[in-house]
Symmetry: C2
Subunit: 257 residues, 2 copies
């Protein structure tokens, strides 16, 4: 836990907060903080700052925040489309996405997605939010990614996604860039990047299921403007591919800003 994430529910009054769950245990047992010690905190969907431990007990930890004012701005916005993976993989994808600053996560049906995955308890908001907050806490970010679940492939790509992208578009900027990692492609992410004039305000990345998208799915996505590119010379697991594409984007964005 690199950052203690606080929510409105934790607030006692003004700048005093109390946590009594796994976060309190972490502060006492792992960080071993005592009254008077400082730690880094962030308000969920809000700013970063520091806090001072007021009291600790087996029942919980009370802190007061000092300067909870540093905004967390991530630009450009990265939206991740992910063919719904099996629950063990989804846990990792959620954590990595939050840790690396993804703004929206769209979990979609695809030909190679098992229907049973849509029944996973992990898709209940209380369960996936816990994973996302853990990721924010690791990455030292505060914006909770929006997560939505789409059980129709075609409806998602033809209707839902264009509407979601349009809602983000600002007429005075370049359009979004939509990316499709594909081992069979010859272009790299750098090549796709060069095709855009200036840093795009919105980047959409679509990660396929284990076994990959089927040809029909790739054709439909390409028709809708997705650009295929090769992540590397190896075939990656879903969660490793998510990390790899976000890391490559981070490198390219750092040199555009």
């Amino acid at each position: 836990m690199n950052l203690l994430i606080l929510t409105a529910d934790d607030r006692l009054e003004k700048d005093r907060y109390r946590v009594a769950d796994h976060r309190a245990k972490h502060i006492r047992s792992v960080l071993k903080l005592a009254p008077g010690d400082r730690l880094e905190v962030g308000l969920l969907n809000g700013p970063l700052g520091t806090a001072v431990v007021e009291s600790t007990s087996p029942d919980g930890v009370t802190i007061h925040t000092e300067n909870l004012t540093t905004p967390v701005e991530l630009f450009p916005v990265i939206d991740l489309i992910c063919a719904l993976p099996r629950p063990q993989t989804l846990k990792k994808v959620l954590s990595i996405s939050a840790m690396m600053g993804v703004r929206r996560i769209f979990l979609v049906r695809a030909n190679r997605v098992e229907k049973s995955y849509f029944q996973s308890p992990l898709l209940h908001p209380a369960n996936y939010q816990r994973r996302l907050i853990d990721g924010l806490s690791q990455g030292k970010l505060t914006r909770l990614p929006d997560l939505s679940i789409h059980d129709r492939f075609r409806t998602f790509f033809e209707d839902t996604l264009p509407a979601a992208v349009a809602a983000e578009e600002q007429s005075d900027r370049v359009g979004p860039i939509m990316l499709l990692p594909d081992q069979a492609a010859s272009a790299t992410l750098t090549d796709c990047w060069k095709s855009v004039a200036g840093s795009p305000p919105l980047i959409v990345v679509a990660i396929g299921p284990e076994g990959g998208w089927v040809p029909f799915e790739i054709e439909l996505m390409e028709r809708l403007g997705f650009q295929r590119f090769k992540l590397g010379r190896f075939v990656l697991r879903v969660e490793t591919a998510v990390t790899a594409v976000l890391a490559q984007l981070e490198l390219l964005c750092a040199h555009d800003s």
Copy 2:
């Protein structure tokens, strides 16, 4: 399993091989292959090719290879130094390293490494090789990374590493590049890359423990030629940092070759 990795122990005669462990189960239960079906195979530390299933039974699967001749060459060579992480994290680091083509893995002691980690059964060759082979099987690579364990930080960096690097050096090429991801750095990997004339034949990357290297360690590594750089705007877990740096290197190498 994207690639069935075969070893000399699996060989019956000439181009006939028999597997009877989890690989056989995977071929029968997951891939659901029957006699006459083809699959991609690779010889450990050898070439890639295809094979035809000859027979399957609950006792094992017999195949014959057809064209086991495609060499797997990864250039430049990437060596990974990793402060020995806790066993659960090490499992992931081993799998990712093999999957993404790391050639040598040096597991080293650091100030923030718990001594008990050196007692993990995972450090027995039979145990870690299984993880590495799983990674190769995922990444469709065949070269088993060399793994070594170093329980003295200073001896490793001052004596062992320079000797290991020197053994790789070719006088007609540019020297190795040694990299140290550090959230406090301002340079990116692209900046470090530009400081090298041409693609380096050897890239050494040092990933710190959870909590990071201590200042003494960073100073020693910088004195020995390591360049600090920032992976991104977020703080990553060890295994995520390994993936991120390998993915960024992959992008840069693709445009140098």
